[in-house]
């Protein structure tokens, strides 16, 4: 399984143009948003810090969704997945390797945002808090990687791209990564709390300012992870020859 995970990672690292846009997007958003509006506080944190956490969450989500879903749809279409299925690789090994790949794809995008925030906008944190954020990105990428596996298996080619775009934007907007949730209309406001994107950022803010992590947030992330992993697993089992 390790060989497979290494193989997958090496392949995705080689696609430099893809990675450039994948990782540049949250960084560009950060630089743009950090210059907009007034100084002051946002979501209980100084504005550059709150934005940094939001964009780290965005980078985590986007890298995992885009890095896993559409390439999988493509590999199903060209039947590489069919070949993989007749080799000694179990569904769980495949799933674990893909989730690890998603985590390793998510980290650099998050680090780039953090470096820009620290170097350009005076964001500081204790080594413990930085380490905590790194752990959060790694673990927090799992539900998004699993969602990517669902999209990549359920949809073909072009549809998987559009669905990933739709998911990323919806989760980012409704989850309060691009606009504060307080600005969203009432019903959507409530929906936000049920989204993994919102809870990933909320947990990130708690890690950064050292306040206690909300158990509800962890529970929401865990439920999304479990649901996405189960659906991805069922699709893998069911797909068979359609591969």
């Amino acid at each position: 399984m390790l060989a497979f995970a290494r193989f997958e990672l090496r392949r995705s690292v080689r696609d430099t143009r893809f990675l450039f846009f994948l990782w540049a997007m949250p960084a560009a958003f950060y630089m743009l948003l950090a210059r907009l509006g007034h100084a002051g506080s946002l979501q209980g944190l100084p504005r550059p810090e709150a934005l940094m956490v939001a964009m780290i969450a965005y980078a985590t989500m986007g890298s995992a969704l885009y890095g896993i879903g559409p390439p999988l749809a493509q590999e199903r279409a060209n039947h590489w997945i069919r070949q993989l299925r007749v080799m000694p690789l179990t569904g769980w090994q495949w799933l674990t390797a893909k989730v690890a790949q998603g985590a390793l794809l998510a980290l650099p995008g998050a680090v780039i945002v953090a470096v820009i925030a620290a170097a350009g906008h005076g964001v500081g944190a204790s080594p413990g808090a930085w380490a905590g954020l790194a752990v959060l990105v790694t673990v927090g990428s799992v539900p998004f990687s699993a969602l990517g596996l669902v999209v990549g298996q359920a949809l073909d080619g072009q549809a998987s791209n559009t669905a990933t775009l739709f998911l990323t934007i919806s989760l980012a907007v409704i989850g309060g990564l691009l606009v504060p949730v307080s600005l969203l209309p009432g019903p959507i406001h409530h929906l936000a709390h049920a989204l993994p994107s919102y809870q990933l950022a909320a947990t990130g803010r708690a890690v950064l300012d050292g306040t206690g992590i909300d158990a509800v947030g962890i529970a929401v992330l865990a439920i999304w992870t479990l649901a996405a992993v189960v659906i991805a697993w069922v699709l893998w089992r069911r797909h068979g020859a359609a591969g």
């Binding site: 060989a3 039947h79 000694p88 020859a241």
Partner: protein, 304 residues
């Protein structure tokens, strides 16, 4: 000894369409078997069932005594899929090495590269290969894990004569080491040269199972070829015994169930035959008869 492949009364349908209908056969360990039939006969379904990529609607499939997916997950099966793709952004060496590492036992990388004729291409990206080279990579992936059973679905599509020869040399090399090989192909000379045994599918049923010689001899038809002064296809088709006419040039080819009657009627006709030759049916003729003519199928399905 446990057979390499067992199909017992296997059926598979997709909605209303029956792709396989009560197919039974066994392949012994070490055999080299060709699976033939026209497109739509059920070959792909048979291959998918052997690989555990699909489940039978009825009946049972076993590979080396266990369910096919189980045999595959244990690394005892190598497969070269007809439409098998290769992953983007990987080199030839990486793909072949991945296959080696996934299997519990494997051949040395250098040996696989030589077997599949890929030496010197290790660092080449698989998305930048010619069709024939990509096909060799797929063969290498199938051979890399040193499997006990090899399934090759049209392994030489897109190959030139030289490449075809080297692939079969590789496959025969594996077979000589005791590997069971089941393959499909449309190249009948490959069957004659490589398969000790042939399974013929038509419309989802197994219509013949035997050596190539047996299959040819079970066809009582003969082929009459002659050069004609004047070619009249209608008249040729009306000759006694004739079941098929190929009159695309002055050299005509007639498949007949009664060569004597056909030839004497041909000489009595106005068509002026010369350089006449009577031969046994080729494997291709046998297959056409087996898979296309309903009464011939009925006749040849009889155990014999």
């Amino acid at each position: 000894m446990t057979p390499a492949v067992v199909f017992s009364k296997v059926s598979r349908s997709y909605g209303d369409i029956t792709a396989l209908d009560g197919v039974s056969f066994e392949v012994a360990v070490g055999e080299m078997v060709a699976l033939l039939g026209p497109n739509g006969a059920g070959k792909s379904t048979t291959v998918d069932l052997m690989l555990g990529l699909r489940q039978p609607s009825a009946g049972q499939v076993k590979v080396l005594g266990c369910p096919p997916a189980h045999a595959a997950s244990e690394g005892r099966v190598g497969a070269m899929l007809q439409d098998g793709g290769l992953p983007a952004n990987a080199t030839v060496g990486e793909v072949v090495d991945l296959a080696r590492r996934l299997y519990p036992t494997s051949r040395p990388l250098a040996e696989v590269m030589v077997l599949a004729g890929l030496t010197g291409l290790e660092a080449r990206r698989v998305d930048r290969l010619s069709g024939g080279q990509a096909q060799r990579v797929r063969l290498a992936v199938a051979l890399a894990g040193d499997p006990k059973v090899l399934f090759l679905d049209e392994p030489t599509v897109g190959f030139d004569v030289e490449a075809r020869r080297s692939v079969w040399a590789a496959v025969r090399g594996a077979a000589a080491q005791g590997v069971t090989v089941v393959f499909t192909t449309h190249q009948l000379e490959e069957v004659d040269a490589n398969a000790a045994r042939v399974l013929v599918l038509a419309a989802g049923r197994l219509v013949a199972d035997g050596t190539t010689a047996q299959i040819k001899s079970r066809l009582s038809e003969r082929v009459v070829t002659a050069t004609l002064a004047t070619v009249c296809p209608e008249q040729l088709a009306a000759l006694p015994g004739v079941v098929d006419v190929d009159a695309s040039g002055v050299r005509v080819r007639l498949r007949t169930q009664d060569a004597d009657a056909t030839v004497s009627a041909l000489y009595r006709s106005e068509m002026g035959p010369a350089a006449l030759n009577i031969s046994g049916a080729s494997l291709e003729d046998a297959l056409i008869a087996l898979t296309h003519v309903d009464d011939a199928v009925a006749r040849l399905v009889e155990p014999g």
